[in-house]
Amino acid sequence: MSKRVLMKGNEAMGEAAIRAGCEAYFGYPITPQSELTAYMSKKMIEEGRVFVQAESEIAAINMVYGAGAAGKRTMTSSSSPGVSLKQEGISYIAGAQVPAIIINVQRGGPGLGNIAPAQGDYFQSTRGGGNGDYRLISLAPNSVQEMADFVMDAFELADKYRVPAMIVADGMLGQMMEPVEFRDPVSLDKLPQKGWALTGKKGRDQNVVHSLSLGGTGLMEHNEKLKKVYEKIEKNEVKYEETETEDADVLIISYGSASRACIGAVRKFRKEGKKVGLIRPQTLWPFPFDIIEKRAKNTKKILVVEMSLGQMIDDVKIAVGKETPVEFLGKAGGWVPTRNDIINKVNEIL
């Protein structure tokens, strides 16, 4: 661990990527993530690694596809409209089983929306987003510390399973400053060897990185192979945090920036002796279905809090079933639910 430093979320994710052994970063400016691209434009060059400001988000993700296919740890970052443009490349990357990291510092939408924090890209992040049958590992930090940690985790997970991984952040996390302690850098010499990578065929047969599979049952078999990988991830990589859940009458479920105000509300209720708890998914896919199902059985009501008009709530409803009522508090258009909003809503349903 390094000493604690005060850092902006966007920059902390850049620093963490360098420490994780990211050898090639490809970016394109968009608010509210531009500090990350700016950070990389200096630090990657200083480290003798690859930095390119691409001509578009589409080009950036396809450069990532190339560097990932070459076996290098690689990353791109953007915000909601830019991440939409990257979906073509993400789908190819998933199909070709290339490890890669994509950061989404979400802003308001649809369309150009605004530049304020939002969580309107939950569906896009957890359902694949591009064409075809695939998933992304989606990690949702709620602090600058977690942004740094989850970026380093994302590189490990992407390599382990050969799937793209996404950091699902938002404009508030990207822009705010908090103390952060970085893990020690990973040595480039100790990164995993990738026998499938495009490095020239010296001493071996030709390697091909592709997603096309014409004719016969080839694609069906490939889809089923991917499904098996996704099942392993669902079994092994679910991550969440619980606060005061065991005896909760009202169980709040929230992630990212929205969850910060929920923690404040839970603390206030507990001081008053009211039994309110929080489950905070740290992985949006794989989603923590099991713990939500388990806790829902002993709680009176569930409250989902999101910075959208209701996306994660669909997954919560799948987990809960019909026995426990699921209520919703959401703000869209770049507005964040406050502690008081949450307290009022809980009092209303309690």
């Binding site: 050898e23 090639a24 490809f26 690694r49 690859v50 390119v52 691409a54 001509e55 578009s56 589409i58 080009a59 950036a60 396809n62 450069m63 990532v64 596809y65 190339g66 560097a67 990932g68 296919a69 070459a70 290098k72 690689t74 073509e88 490349g89 190819y92 070709a96 495009l198 490095t199 020239g200 065929k201 010296k202 001493g203 030709q206 390697n207 091909v208 990185v209 592709h210 997603s211 096309l212």
Partner: protein, 248 residues
């Protein structure tokens, strides 16, 4: 016994799926011969995007990536920059390179990265069934210009090589054809130079090769060759468009 001719080492045993009279097979062979002559097969990585030649890896025996439509220059950038000792080339058609991938090829040329592009121009989208491409000639009938390309509606045919020759980052831009032995040999020399430039780290090099598409042009292979000579070649003149070695 002296060996006077042998199979191109870097061509696989696979039979190509290209239509009779299509020039992809000849151009693949030229690329493979150049790779062998320069002795770079062990460190060469090809990038073939969506189009008839997306399966180029079945025929040219080097490491290969399959790119999205138009994105080969971006993908090649990602492959090349972290491993600059490798030889990276893209093999792209005109529907791909001149239309959906116009931004990617222009910026690759402008950045002047040491990457080689083989650009096969048959004035049409082949794989999807003969639709109009940016390179389709004025008046040319296609699946999506059944009355012939009207430049008032569809704009002008794009001379990509001439456009890219204007970018300072481009080291070598040339246009060849493969409809007769003399042109095959000239075009091979162009492709060889475009790869040699990368070995010598001179910058971006591209060879455009005029090609037929008998199936989608609705002609026999021989008629296609004649049509190319009479119609494409006057509009897309052969020759070197830019060579930084000649400018010095």
């Amino acid at each position: 016994m002296k060996c006077v001719f042998k199979k191109t080492e870097s061509m696989t045993e696979n039979k190509t799926i290209y239509c009779p009279g299509c020039h992809h097979g000849i151009i693949h062979r030229l690329v493979a011969e150049v790779i062998d002559e320069l002795d770079i097969a062990d460190r060469t990585i090809g990038v073939a995007p969506v189009g008839c030649s997306v399966l180029a890896y079945d025929y040219i025996d080097v490491d290969f990536a399959e790119a999205a439509h138009g994105r080969a220059p971006a993908m090649a950038t990602g492959i090349k920059l972290p491993q600059k000792d490798k030889i990276v080339f893209t093999y792209q058609g005109d529907g791909d390179l001149a239309s959906i991938g116009a931004a990617e090829i222009l910026h690759l040329a402008n950045r002047g990265y040491n990457i080689t592009t083989v650009f096969v121009n048959n004035a049409i989208y082949g794989m999807t069934g003969g639709q109009m491409a940016p390179t389709t000639l004025e008046g040319q009938k296609t699946a999506t210009s059944p009355m012939g390309r009207d430049i008032k509606i569809h704009g002008h045919p794009m001379k990509v090589s001439e456009i890219l020759a204007e970018t300072p980052g481009a080291a070598y831009i040339a246009r060849g054809a493969v409809y007769d032995p003399a042109n095959v040999s000239k075009t091979k020399a162009m492709i060889k130079k475009a790869f040699q430039n990368q070995i010598d780290e001179k910058g971006f090099s591209m060879v455009e090769v005029l090609s037929t598409c008998p199936t989608n042009w609705g002609m026999s292979p021989l008629e296609s060759q004649e049509w190319l000579k009479e119609n494409m070649e006057p509009f897309y003149p052969l020759g070197v468009k830019k060579d930084i070695d000649q400018e010095k």
